[in-house]
């Protein structure tokens, strides 16, 4: 089987065509192989892609406009719906942005709790992405293995916040409640049982000759190109650049944990797969460290004007009632200013650019959505490749429609 090296793609795109005509193919918007609402108008010569033009915005919901009319705590549910495969990371990125703007210091314990939840979210997100790469190559089995594990992560979210997919987890200033004993049992059980199941998944694909032949050199991108196209996250690291926000600009006490940033070499589908596999292992390590080193303290910061008082207090004390009313009505003391805060989302640098004029809602909120920025490299990555490689390239890039279209 000959492998096509698309890095020298231009030589494959000649004016000579195989059957004398170029066809236009509409891939999407609701194609079962695209895992979301993506449309690509492709010019194909036989099975070879000559050009591709993505059309996006099918599920655009005007989040940035909505955010200009909502108090700060009501924006958290909007962030859920960006990258819905790992909503807790979005939620906490937003909480940290507001905390940065308002100058709120959260206790160390909150940082550690957040790290645990965020790394669980990263594992869930990577599991979806990697198992779907398997599905797109025709290997459905691995997908069924890890989706059971993802379900366990969702049960843990449920234990913390009551929701599974659009989590709205945590609050500005911390968590609404302590991790419950049930959560701790579930987490410890997960940490004990998951590695073996994950290894089983790994055995099915990572060194599988058929899988390797299929994904190696599919949709590659060089480090320079990746950087110029604004790649971040695992896709960038697969191209060989060790940029990770958790290390470059540590937030939420990430500096306390010992982990490595896996990097790839060719930036192809296989490298992206391998980088995510290793990141899952690193995330497990981070969770263990956070659990072992969990500091004593409160699960929320002492900021009564942002953090809702306990409900019993609201019925009993005047002060709590006032704070409760003010927070619910969006009457929180926010300074005027502008702040950019970035977190390492599961698919790249998720940034919040927030401008406040001191009013009850943001004056402007811009989401730096990683997959919106790197998806524009897609036409170049699939140019000259086979149609089936284009499907693989898209699923391995972890483009999430909700985040893409905001």
């Amino acid at each position: 089987m000959s492998q096509l090296d698309t890095r020298n793609q231009d030589k494959f795109v000649s004016t000579e065509t195989i059957d004398g005509e170029i066809a236009t193919l509409n891939l999407g918007p609701t194609h079962p192989a695209t895992h979301g609402v993506f449309q690509n108008v492709m010019k194909v010569d036989g099975e070879r892609i000559i050009s591709s033009e993505p059309t996006i915005g099918y599920i655009h919901r005007a989040f940035e406009k909505l955010a200009e009319r909502r108090p700060y705590n009501q924006i958290t549910p909007i962030t859920d719906r960006l990258n819905y495969c790992s909503s807790p990371i979005n939620n906490m990125g937003w909480h940290m942005t507001v905390e940065k703007l308002a100058g709120i210091e959260v206790p160390k314990k909150v940082d550690y709790m957040r790290v645990i939840i965020m790394e669980l979210a990263r594992i869930a997100d990577h599991l979806v992405c990697n198992s779907v790469i398997g599905v797109d190559t025709g290997a459905l089995t691995g997908f069924t293995y890890v989706f059971q594990e993802r379900e366990k992560i969702y049960e843990m979210y449920e234990e913390v916040c009551g929701a599974r997919l659009t989590t709205n987890i945590g609050r500005i200033g911390g968590f609404e409640r302590e991790f419950s004993p049930v959560f701790m049992v579930k987490l410890k059980k997960f940490l004990k049982e998951f590695p073996a199941k994950f290894q089983e998944f790994d055995n099915l694909l990572t060194r599988n000759r058929i899988f390797m032949d299929r994904v190696i050199k599919a949709g590659p991108i060089s480090a320079e190109k990746a950087m110029s196209y604004g790649f971040t996250g695992p896709n960038l690291r697969a191209a060989g650049v060790d940029y990770d926000v958790r290390v470059m600009n540590p937030y939420s006490s990430y500096g306390d944990f010992d982990f490595i940033i896996p990097v790839g070499q060719d930036g192809d589908t296989y490298d992206r797969f391998i980088v995510r596999q290793e990141e899952i292992r690193q995330s497990l390590g981070i969770i263990r460290q956070a659990l072992d080193g969990m500091p004593e303290g409160k699960h929320y910061a002492d900021v009564p004007s942002f953090y809702l008082p306990p409900k019993e207090e609201v019925f009993r004390s005047m002060e709590a009632l006032i704070y409760h009313f003010k927070i619910i009505m969006g009457e929180t003391p926010i300074p005027a200013g502008e702040v950019y805060h970035a977190v390492e989302g599961a698919n790249g640098e998720l940034g919040y650019y927030l401008i406040s004029d001191g009013g009850r809602t943001p004056y402007r909120l811009h989401f730096r959505r990683p997959c919106f920025i790197y998806y524009q490299a897609y036409p170049e990555m699939v140019k000259g490749a086979m149609l089936s490689d284009a499907i693989l390239t898209m699923s391995s890039m972890n483009v999430i429609a909700g985040e893409l279209d905001a």
Partner: protein, 168 residues
Amino acid sequence: MTAVNNESVLQMLKEEFTEAVMQSDTQYGMLSVEIPADRNTEIVGWLKSHSLINMGFLTDVCAVHYPEQKGRALVVVYHLHSWTKNFRMRIKCFLPAEKPEIATMTGLYNSANWMERETFDFYGVQFIGHPNLKRILNMDEMDYHPLLKQYALEDETRDDKVDSFFGR
């Protein structure tokens, strides 16, 4: 070797471009510099190719609308990041609402392509020289730029969410 931090970069910019550094401030640790809109590619290109600062990564492009500022109602904001020095900064270019035109950054960073299309889509900023400046998230038939402040999100007769109602 000079350290790359807010003060030193601002100093270097002032030395190189003197009057073009119109305003600067540092909020929450990030340096923000205002430059003339017609010199954006020149100054960002200099920051990118500078051997010490090396702003190789364009993190974000977006716009903000301040309707009450006459002659400078729109601002295009660039977030730059130097990965070698781990240094972030913000560049702002103010534009008049009547003629929101600015040169494209696509020659410097490929990633500017869609981010500028998004900015055009929502604010109507014309990026001169952009290879494919058309709407990206909204439908092509739309005849206004929805994130401009004159377009209310909800029924304008509603007053239950007005700031003044809350004593601000």
